[in-house]
């Protein structure tokens, strides 16, 4: 078990290092500098600016400086927000993104499990078909389309909720639904199909032969066994939530990390882009690590390996 943990951690660090290096290289090769503006600056000013941000050093020195900074938790100064550090901006905006992503994940799990169970229990019935049709629609509905639709229907037509605010619980509802819809649909249909597959396994037949009620068979025997495929997709799902969050933050004008990332991309604010990418990757790595650990918890066979 500690060996597995160590191996996974090393793999995570490797991924982070690859991402740090790739983003560094990509953004240095990419055309268009951070100081390209409509108005031509005098060359002396540009030289001064570049010296201030060490852009005049050889590439490998910049790289080492950058890696050294990351290790110390310093992601460098923002090129756009002149008086602020990238670390500062991220520290300020990350909690908002985490709240949004966490709530969406919670929503997805809380809704998908009962729906998936219900659909599997009443398989091929009207309930099952309805649930699965809605899920199929939900998987194909891009979150910016859903977000716009919800804003139009709930906020503009019905006037039930206000938009463009991020202060109390009611401003969280629509973004959470928008971000959580696709994961919910995906989890529910996955849970249904794994449950139904599990139902034809020998141990389920044994449980039935013992005379257990169908609901008990599902709850006590099939469900635990079906958790493994569901857990497998939790990592990629967390990734989808992370990246989906910046679309949702854009649509609902939420002051989270994703919205800063989008502006940073248009501004070519290199340190901010690299910083946000690293934080997202780190969160993804952590999510995968947690999934791996839960995995060995649910399935003893993995622990032995």
């Amino acid at each position: 078990m500690p060996r597995l943990l160590l191996k996974r951690c090393l793999h995570g660090l490797l991924v982070l290092w690859v991402v740090a290096t790739l983003t560094f290289l990509l953004l240095r090769i990419a055309p268009g500098g951070p100081f390209d503006s409509e108005r031509k600056l005098p060359p002396e000013v540009i030289a001064n600016l570049e010296a201030k941000y060490y852009l005049d050093e050889p590439l490998w020195q910049q790289y080492l400086r950058y890696l050294g900074g990351i290790v110390q938790g310093d992601l460098g100064p923002s090129y756009k927000y002149l008086d602020r550090d990238v670390t500062e901006i991220i520290a300020e905006t990350l909690p908002t993104s985490i709240v949004l992503g966490g709530l969406a994940m919670l929503f997805a799990v809380l809704v998908a499990f009962p729906v998936g169970l219900c659909a599997a229990y009443f398989r091929n019935s009207f309930i099952d078909r309805t649930c699965m049709s809605i899920a199929a629609l939900g998987i194909s509905l891009p979150n910016f389309v859903l977000g716009a639709l919800l804003i139009w229907a709930v906020a503009l037509q019905l006037g039930w909720l206000q938009i463009g605010r991020w202060d109390d619980w009611s401003s969280v509802i629509l973004p959470m639904l928008t971000l959580g819809a696709a994961p919910t649909a995906f989890l529910a249909s996955l849970l249904r199909s794994t449950l139904i597959e599990t139902m034809s396994e020998d141990f389920v037949r044994t449980a039935r032969a013992k005379g257990l009620k169908e609901s008990m068979v599902i709850a006590k025997h099939a469900l635990l066994h079906s958790l493994i495929p569901v857990l497998t997709v939790m990592g990629p799902l967390a990734a989808a939530l992370l990246t989906g969050s910046f679309v949702v933050e854009f649509v609902f004008a939420i002051p989270g990390m994703g919205r800063f990332f989008i502006t940073a991309v248009s501004d070519r604010d290199y340190p901010l882009i690299m910083g946000v990418t690293l934080v997202y990757t780190a969160m993804l790595v952590c999510a995968n690590l947690i999934v791996d650990l839960l995995y060995s918890f649910v399935d003893p066979r993995i622990r032995v390996e």
Partner: protein, 277 residues
């Protein structure tokens, strides 16, 4: 079970129909569009849908139907292009890894694992900064990220197939490695690969329209190719309060296209790859 098949088959047929409509729109846009691309009519600004403008007009007096028809070109080009690039890259990578086996396989799959752990949307964005915000750049960026899916599928299939008896007998008969790979293993992995291909088209279309919607996708306002549905939706989103028709049609086009490709993919999976069901 049979009674459940019928409506699903109908849905698959409808999806195929819609996908072919999108194809027709993309190929014949200049001939079937009611107005010229980029044609502005100052007196026709922000018209709601009517007989002369079926989907209304936008803030510059451009016909929305014309723009949606042309937009099909961007979506399809991105969807098909990405799928082809990642198919070629990923399948050959997976084939080699699976066929070589041993340390090669281990090393190559470690690399795939690393790619798999990357947040793909961010990589698209970073790569599109490098390759420029045009269709070509986006294709390379999307292809570079989505090839890993093909690599995993192809490798898994090769590992399964190469232990089968007919491959062994081909080897015993003295077939060369290239012949075994192309003549015996390849035909057996075509099904799953085609299914993966069908599912990778809508995810590329989704990625492209999302990027365009948040304003960091394809940026080429004077392209004779047409404007991305994502950009149209963004234009409409800004005017949604008063003119919801401007977002409704592009958004519906995106949703229906993705839905149709996904349904088609499910249908093909049942047909070509019943084991995965």
């Amino acid at each position: 079970m049979d009674s459940a098949r019928k409506p699903f088959e109908l849905l698959v047929a409808l999806s195929a129909l819609f996908v072919s409509l999108v194809f027709v729109a993309a190929c014949l846009a200049p001939w079937i569009a009611p107005y010229a691309l980029g044609g502005l009519e100052e007196k026709q600004i922000l018209q709601t849908p009517s007989a002369s403008h079926w989907m209304g007009t936008d803030g510059l007096g451009r016909d929305v139907l014309t723009r949606v028809l042309y937009g099909a070109r961007v979506s399809l080009a991105v969807g098909l292009g990405t799928a082809l690039i990642s198919l070629l890259l990923g399948t050959s990578y997976g084939l080699i890894a699976g066929f070589k086996g041993g340390n090669w396989d281990h090393l190559m799959m470690r690399i795939v694992d690393i790619f798999y752990g990357l947040p793909d949307m961010l990589i698209f964005i970073l790569l599109s900064l490098l390759f420029g915000r045009n269709i070509g750049g986006l294709l390379v960026a999307l292809g570079l990220v989505s090839w890993v899916r093909f690599a995993r599928i192809a490798r898994g299939q090769v590992l399964q197939t190469k232990e089968l008896l007919f491959v062994e007998s081909a080897r015993a008969l003295g077939a060369s490695r290239g012949r075994i790979l192309l003549g015996h293993i390849m035909p057996n992995i075509v099904g799953p690969v085609i299914v993966t291909l069908t599912f990778s088209i809508p995810s590329a279309i989704l990625a492209e329209s999302t990027l365009s919607f948040i304003g960091i996708g394809i940026n080429d306002p004077y392209s004779s190719w047409g404007t991305s549905w994502g950009t149209l939706a963004q234009d409409g989103y800004r005017a949604m309060r008063s003119y919801p028709h401007m977002i409704a049609f592009p958004a519906a086009a995106i949703f229906l296209t993705i839905l149709s490709f996904n349904t088609l993919g499910n249908g093909l999976r049942d047909l070509l790859d019943p084991k995965q069901k």
